[in-house]
Structures are given as C-alpha cells and as structure tokens.
C-alpha cells in the first residue's frame, strides 16, 4: 500500500500510539522508553517531512479518516500554517534526546517517572500535531485537551517546589479557556449546524439571521486561545509554569505549546475573515494593543528577573506579543512576519531553554548571580546560549530578525508607526537583559566552585542545543525560504479583506 496519501493520518497517529506503547516497552528495560520515544519521534518527523514536501508540490490538501467527506466526517487539513508540525517534530525529537540524560538529575525520576514522562511528552507532541492539522472545530478541542492535559502534568513532573502549584494554576486557567472554546464551538454549531471549519466559514458567509451568537463565539474563541497563548492580561499562569517545569519541557511548552493558541487564533481568523460577517477592525486593534502591552510588559519583567528560566518565560510573553500584534495588524507583512515568528521563536526559545537546562544540569544553579563566569566553564553551551540570545533580540543575521522586521514593516504598512516603535523598544529592553546575562556569564568572576569547575554539557544535551543554535543562524540567513513558503497561506487568509 502506498503511504503517500496517508502521512497526514499517520503523523497524528504515530505519536499517540507510540505514547500508548511507551509504558509497555518500559517493562523491558529502564532505558527503552527513551529509545522508543526517540524512534517514534523519528517516524513522526519523517511524516512531517513528507507532508511539507507534499504541500510544496501540491498546495494545501486534506485527508478524511473514515472516508466521510466533510462536513459529515472529520477532515484533516494541511495548509501552510500546519507546516509548523515540522518544528514541533524537530523540537520534540530534540527534547526527547535532551531528556535522556537530563531526567537522571531529577530525584523524582529515579523512582520510576521516566516512562510516564516520555509518554506525556509524546502525547503532548501528538496533541499539538493533531491540533495543527485538523480541519474540524470539535476535533480541535479534543486535541487541545490532549496537549493541555499532558502539558499540565509535564509542568508538575519535575518536582520543583512550586511545580504542582504552578501546574494547578495552569490547569485552572487552561481548563477555563478550553471551556470557552467549547462554548464557542457550541454557539457556532448552533447557528450553522456543522463543525467543519471550511463549512462553518461557508455557511456564515452571507449569513441571514441574528449575528450575536457568532460575535459571542468570536469573543470566546479569541479569549480562549489568547489564554492558551498567554497574551496579556491572560498570561498570569505562564511564568511560574514554564519556570518550574524541567528544562526540556520548558522548551516544548514555551517554544511550541503557547503557539497552539496562536494557531488557534489563525483558524478563528480564517473563519471570520472568510465569512466576512464582521468588520474585525476593533478586534484587531484590541489585539494590537494587547500585543504591544505584552511585548513591553514581558520584556520589562524579564529585565528584572534574576532567575534565568523565569526570565526566559517572561520573554516568551513578550514574543507572543509580537506574534499577536503581527496578526492584529492584518497586513500582509505583519501576518507573514507573525506566522514565521511562530516557527522561529520555537527554535530560538528551545535553544535558550536547552542551553540553560544544560547549565542547570551541570551546576545546579539558576540565577544570574550564581551563574557568574559559567561562560568560560561551559564554552560550547554558552556560545549556543549567546546565539539564541542574539536571535531572540532580533539581530541579523539570525532567525529572529526577519520576522520582527516584517512585523515592523506591517505596522508601517497599516499606518500605525507607533507600534513599530513599541516593537523595537521591546526588543531593546530584551536586549538589555541579554547583555546582563552575557556579561554575567563571561565577564564576571564565578562565585561558586561548582560553576567554575563545571564541564561542558554531555553530548546528549550539547547536540540538541548546538543543532538548534545553528538552525537559528541558518534560518536567519535563509530567512527568505519560510517567508515565501508561508506567503500563499497568508494571502489566502487575507484575501477576503481585499488587497
């Protein structure tokens, strides 16, 4: 049987089945779950490659499990935005590899959490992949729950002092946002009688009858997904959760899971732009402002953190602000920049969390004061960290640059130069933090003997970190590739707006 048409189903299925079998293979040996998770992610990555290749050749395509064409069955739909599965697989794969040594250092894992940890990681990736490729509203919700539940658990699994508390906070806000999304799906279903995204769009087009339910649904979807994406002021759960999780998990959560909220927003836009029911100017304005506040606030809080992981978590809020602002600008440049930043920020943030994780693994410290001088003790890790830092600030020729440039251009294109300023000054604030970090790591004398004597990270951690760091550079130099790739998708998204 030729697999070419089936990859879309397989990419959803593989991580989930792999996850279900992880506790089984754990019976064989202590180390098997790692290898099992790694090989599962390899297959998934291969599927992702095939899918991305296919969209290069054919443009967007669909798969209908069960053979029931939409709207009667569930449709899996792969468009340009779904190509984010590539980065999900990559970061997921590397996170598994990174965890293989990292989890040894956590006391909790010695008591048998390991197989469950990998199961949750696989489930999380599977949920994200399902979320990104599904073309059905309710299916979206189901996969969102898979990834959210595993996300809550992954936060708690590391055994930090506040981990469970942070996880509970995350769970509470996450569950409320999920409920809002479900409620909104109910509303949309109530007025259209269908759950398929494309069909909902079509039936809302030229909709006659009261528009209030659709408007309420829009509001709830945006609030729900904004909570998942941690947009100000719905970000309160994020810093603790991302800082308390084990570092590879933080990389996945910060790099990927929050993006799910953004992808959700893109789907919402697809419905509402496509249906042309409402003029979304006001909503966009609100999003731009919230994005701007997120940028500045996230950066501002980041600057005053001493804990490196907490600082990275705040910087995630700031970067989500960029993406949301780019989406809200609703200009070609802005949306392209935002979409590409979804990819690039995942790479960059994973680099940073991996590098910091390796440093914590080796030294046991996590504040700037304690980690003084670590750059000289762990040169390669610190170089990767610096590359990540340069990228996240958005300095050319690294991955962060072009997206921010495009979002800024989008701001001017939309005739809102003020937000161009906000964007650049946000980058400036973050820049200051990273200068502090680089200064502490390279030019201060170590205060702890453990830091001074630390060796560079072990290969299983160094490899993922360096791979991602070099990708940050490559994606910067080849920055044009993702931009041209996403362009037709953005054009289709914005086409109903005219121009």
């Amino acid at each position: 049987m030729h697999l070419w048409p089936h990859w879309l189903a397989l990419i959803v299925l593989t991580p989930l089945v792999g996850a279900a079998l992880t506790p089984v293979v754990a019976l064989i040996d202590r180390r098997t779950p790692t290898w099992w998770a790694l090989s599962t992610m390899t297959v998934t990555s291969f599927a992702a490659t095939m899918l991305v290749l296919r969209i290069f050749h054919e443009g967007p395509f669909s798969y209908v499990p069960g053979g029931w064409t939409a709207p009667y069955g569930i449709e899996l739909h792969f468009d340009e935005f779904s190509a984010v599965v590539g980065v999900i697989c990559l970061v997921g794969w590397l996170a598994v590899l990174f965890s293989s040594r990292y989890t040894d250092s956590l006391p909790e894992f010695a008591r048998g959490r390991t197989p469950y940890y990998y199961t949750l990681l696989l489930l999380n990736c599977g949920g994200m992949i399902g979320f990104t490729v599904t073309g059905d509203l309710f299916n979206l919700f189901v996969f969102m729950e898979v990834l959210s539940l595993s996300g809550y658990a992954l936060v708690a699994v590391g055994g930090e002092r506040i981990a469970e508390m942070a996880a509970f906070k995350y769970l509470l806000m996450g569950a409320i946002s999920s409920l809002l999304v479900l409620f909104a799906i109910g509303f949309l279903y109530g007025i259209t009688g269908t759950l398929n995204i494309a069909d909902v769009t079509a039936r809302l087009h030229g909709f006659e009858g009261p528009t209030a339910p659709a408007a309420v649904a829009l509001g709830m979807l945006v609030v729900g997904f904004a909570t998942k994406a941690a947009v100000f002021p719905l970000h309160v759960w994020l810093p603790d959760a991302h800082a308390a999780a084990p570092s590879p998990v933080s990389a996945v959560l910060s790099g990927l899971v929050v993006k799910v909220g953004v992808i959700g927003m893109i789907r919402v836009y697809r419905i509402y732009y496509g249906s042309g029911m409402f003029d979304l100017t006001v909503l966009n304005l609100v999003l731009i402002w919230l994005g701007a506040i997120s940028i500045v606030m996230g950066a501002f809080f980041a600057v005053f953190q001493d804990d490196v992981k907490l600082m990275l978590a705040y910087s995630t809020i700031s970067n989500i602000g960029y993406i949301v602002m780019g989406l809200g600008l609703a200009t070609t440049y802005g949306v392209i920049g935002a979409s590409v930043h979804i990819f690039n920020h995942a790479l960059i943030k994973a680099t940073l969390f991996f590098a910091v994780g390796a440093i914590i693994y080796r030294t046991g410290y996590r504040t700037l004061t304690d980690l003084r001088g670590v750059g000289r003790a762990m040169p390669l890790t610190a170089v990767a960290l610096s590359v990540g830092a340069i990228s996240i600030v958005g300095i050319p020729p690294t991955a962060g640059f072009l997206c921010k440039w495009y979002i800024a251009l989008g701001a001017f294109q939309a005739d809102r130069p003020f937000f161009g300023f906000v964007l650049i000054f946000g980058a400036l604030l973050i820049f200051i933090y990273y200068i502090r970090m680089v200064n502490a790591f390279y030019f201060r004398e170590p205060v702890h003997a453990e830091v001074a004597e630390a060796k560079d990270a072990p290969v299983s951690m160094l490899l993922p970190t360096l791979v991602l760091a070099s990708l940050c550079l490559i994606m910067g130099i080849l920055g044009r590739v993702p931009l041209t790739f996403i362009e037709p998708g953005v054009a289709r998204l914005l086409a109903p707006l005219g121009g």
């Binding site: 050319p396 020729p397 130069p417 300023f421 650049i424 980058a427 200051i432 030019f443 130099i477």
Partner: protein, 491 residues
C-alpha cells in the same frame, strides 16, 4: 565604476579575527601583542590597497547575505566610506601601540584588547556598510563593544557611566532602527549606494518623521546637545579608550551616520527643498558654542577634551547640513582633521597621567619643560583646533566658511569665528601653563613619556601638520573627500 571585491568585507573581518584570537589565545602577553599589531597593520594595508582604485573612482562592493528583497548585509567601499575607514584603520595602528604601552600594568587585558579590536572592526564595518541595516548592525555592535571598555576599571563610577552610555546609545540605536524600517517601508530599499533614495512623493510629514528619527538616533552617539550627557561621564575609561571613543570610533560613527543620512538617504536635492537641515544646523551651532563655553570651565583635562569633542563633532554636522559642495568637503575632511588632532591630545593627556600622575589642568604648570615633546604635540593639536593656517583644522574652517558664503548664510561665519576664539580660550591657557609658568615647588627634571606612548603621539601630531599643508597634493586623503563630494552632488 563598481567592482565586486572581497576587500570591503575583509577589512572589518580582519579585526574580528584578531578579536577572536585575542579572546582565545590572548593570555600570553607577547602573543596578544603579536595578534593586535599584525591585525592592525594588515587591516591598514587592506584599506590602503583600495585607495588607488578609490581615487580613480572605483567602488568596491561585496554582498554578504541577501535575506529577502533588498534586506541583507552588504559592504561597499565608496569614497566617503573609504575616507572614514582610512582614518580609523590608520589610527588603530597608532592607538594599538599606545594602548600596549599604556595598559602595561593593568588587569583584564584580554578583555580590553579583545573588545578594542572589535570596536575598530565595527567602525570599519560602519564605514563600508552598503545599506542602513548593515550600518545599524555595526552601529549597535559598536555600542556593545565599547561598553566593556568604558567600565574597564569596574568602579561604581565607571559602572554608572557605562549604564548611562548604554542607555543613551541603545535608545538612539532604536530610533535608527525605526527610521530604517520606515525608509524600507517608504521606498522598498535601504541601500546607501545612491545619492539619495527617498523622494518628495513620500510626503513632507513622513519624510520629516524619518529625518527626525535617523538624526536623533545618530545624534545621541555624535553627542549633539542636548544628547551629549553620556560623553563626559565616559571619561572614566582608560585613556586609549577615550581616544578611541572620542577621536575615532563612537562619536565619529554618529557623525558619519548623519552624513550618510543627509547625503545618501535623503540626498542634497531633496533636503534642499525640504528645509529640515536648518534646525539641525542651528542645533549644531548651538552645540559648538555651548560646549566650548563649558569646556573653558573644566579643570579635569580629559573632561575639557570631552567637551571640546562635543563642540568639534558638531562642525561635521553643521557642515553637512549646509548642503553645499564646499561645506560637504569640510564635513568629510573634518573626520580626519578632528580625529588626528583630538587623538593627539588624548595621547598627551594619557602620557601625562601615566608619567606624572597629573590629571587636572592647574597641575600642569611647567610641565612643558618636563615633557617638551609631548607638550609640543599638544601645542600642534591646539593650533589646529584654533584654525591656524598650515594646520589641519584650518582646512575645515576655511571650507565651512566657503560653504557658508556659498549658501548665503553669513551667520555660520560668525559661529566659526566665535568658536575659534573659544577654542583658543580653552586650549591656549594649557599651552601657556605648560611652557611659560614655572612649576610649583622644585622644577622636576626632564622626564619624557615612555616610547610606546610618545611615538604614536608624535606621529599623529606630524600628520596634523601634513594634512594642513598637503591638501592640494594628489593621492592624499583630501582628493578622496573631493571624489565623495562629486558623487554626492552628482557632479
């Protein structure tokens, strides 16, 4: 004529490599010196090797990366850039020798020399930047690389000066970036390879906005009043750094940015019609006079020099904003004239401090007998600033005055004359003190600075005279400035 050539990239890359070598293998003193000196020499040779071609109107370009649609990193050695690069790379050699002598007993020399090399690298990068983005990139790198030099002694005073420096210049850099994005938004290109890329069709309001952003951004580094606050405070840095900051790299980068904005982003034709340059000129004139007046009352020699720098850099801004060919010549040659004279003075200040430990002006009585060569160099530099014929400073003032007449704005002449008088008022007392006042207490025996400090000082002083006398000699930098002016004014 444009030629694709790797040398514009190679020149900044040279000092990058040097910095890397210093960081990696710089623990041993002699190796560090070897890397520093050879990199400085090779870089100067690379820049010099482009000089003959440049004089004949050849422009060397090299595109490193093109991200998308004209946004990329590129290098372009046109006449203007060559001039700036020539100044900074030749002065790097002098400063390197001086710094090796000056920093002999200091701590953390690896960090110092590594960032020192990076600074010069970025300066040449600024000179050769083909587009605003590359320019901005090197401009910000310069900010970052000078920070460790400013805080070198890590005293509370140095750290606070470093913070002030970073705050000023980073915010300025952000303005530049916003301006750059707006230029790209307005024209679709950010190239610096044309005599102006904006056109009047963009609308006066928007153009004014862009002009304001870019000029404010660059002016923070050029220490144009009222954005000069960081510069006197940054005097806590070691003297070679002060020399580098004030004579070659940082403030010049700001001034160079303004020159690029005026000539290559807007173009003289466009600006002539818009009239944005008049307020800029007024601001520059104000800075020239005010900073000079403040300088008179400074007792700390380096602080006096710092205010003098603020005043002198504004000459470039003033000249650039006159928009006439003569003034443009003045603006460009002043990069060299001011740099050489000012670096001489800083070298002298450092030599005095290292040799006698004196840092204040009133302590300098009779020092001319103790260190005749050093103070002789200082005298040469002072006369240059005052505008005495046969010294480099005269050329600048002469051409600015010509430019003022050309543009019909006679009040610039008044500014020039006042400024010369003020220059005399704060430099000549030092010379007078040094040579004609007896030292307090017993006259110290003659004790010159050590050769590594003295020789660079004298070389720079000689060049001050050379630049003042050879402006008509073909092949000297002056003809390069004329070539740049011809390009800018499409002559």
């Amino acid at each position: 004529m444009e030629v694709v050539d790797i040398r514009p990239l190679l020149a900044p890359a040279m000092s990058f490599a040097c910095a890397g070598m210093v960081f990696l293998f710089g623990r041993k003193t002699h190796w560090r010196r070897f890397w520093m000196l050879s990199a400085a020499t090779i870089k100067m040779l690379i820049v010099l090797s482009m000089l003959p071609g440049s004089l004949q109107g050849v422009v060397y370009t090299f595109d490193l990366v093109d991200f998308t649609g004209g946004i990329g990193l590129g290098f372009r050695a046109d006449a203007l850039g060559m001039f700036f690069a020539l100044v900074s790379s030749s002065l790097w050699v002098a400063t390197t020798v001086y710094a090796i002598g000056y920093m002999r007993e200091d701590e953390k020399r690896v960090r110092f020399f590594g960032f020192f090399a990076l600074c010069v690298s970025t300066t040449v990068g600024i000179a050769f930047a083909e587009n605003l983005l590359t320019f901005f990139l090197f401009y910000e790198m310069l900010t970052i690389c000078t920070y460790p030099l400013v805080i070198h002694y890590e005293t509370p005073e140095a750290l606070s000066a470093g913070r002030a420096y970073l705050t000023y210049t980073l915010i300025g850099g952000a303005f530049v970036l916003v301006g750059t994005v707006m230029v790209h938004d307005a024209t679709g290109t950010i190239s610096l390879g044309h005599p102006g890329i904006l056109d009047a069709g963009i609308g006066t309001g928007r153009l004014g906005f862009i002009f304001g952003l870019l000029v404010i951004g660059f002016a923070t580094k050029a220490a144009l009043m009222p954005l000069h606050g960081w510069l006197p405070r940054a005097m806590v840095a070691p003297t070679p750094v002060s020399a580098l900051l004030h004579a070659v790299a940082v403030v010049k980068a700001g001034a160079f940015g303004i020159v690029r904005t005026v000539y290559n982003v807007f173009g003289v034709d466009l600006l002539d019609g818009l009239g944005f340059t008049l307020p800029l000129a007024a601001l520059a004139a104000f800075t020239i006079i005010t900073a000079s007046v403040i300088a008179i009352f400074q007792d700390d020699l380096k602080r006096r020099l710092a205010y003098s720098t603020i005043s002198q850099i504004s000459y470039i801004v003033l000249a650039a904003s006159m928009l006439t060919p003569f003034a443009a010549t003045a603006a460009i040659v002043h990069f060299a004239n001011q740099a050489l004279a000012k670096i001489t003075m800083f070298f002298v200040a450092g030599a005095i401090q290292r040799t006698t430990g004196k840092t204040n002006v009133h302590e300098l009585a009779g020092i001319g007998h103790q260190m005749p060569w050093t103070m002789g160099a200082f005298t040469v530099a002072s006369l240059s600033f005052i505008g005495m014929p046969l010294f480099a400073g005269f050329i600048t003032k002469w051409y600015i005055s010509l430019g003022a007449l050309e543009s019909g704005q006679w009040w610039f002449l008044l500014v020039m004359i006042t400024s010369s008088l003020l220059n005399a008022a704060y430099f000549l007392p030092i010379v007078y003190l040094a040579f004609f006042k007896p030292a307090r207490g017993a006259a110290a025996p003659m004790k010159e600075a050590r050769p590594t400090l003295l020789v660079p000082t004298l070389v720079c002083a000689i060049w001050v005279i050379a630049l003042g006398t050879t402006s008509e000699v073909a092949g000297m930098p002056f003809s390069l400035a004329e070539a740049a002016v011809r390009f800018v004014f499409r002559m």
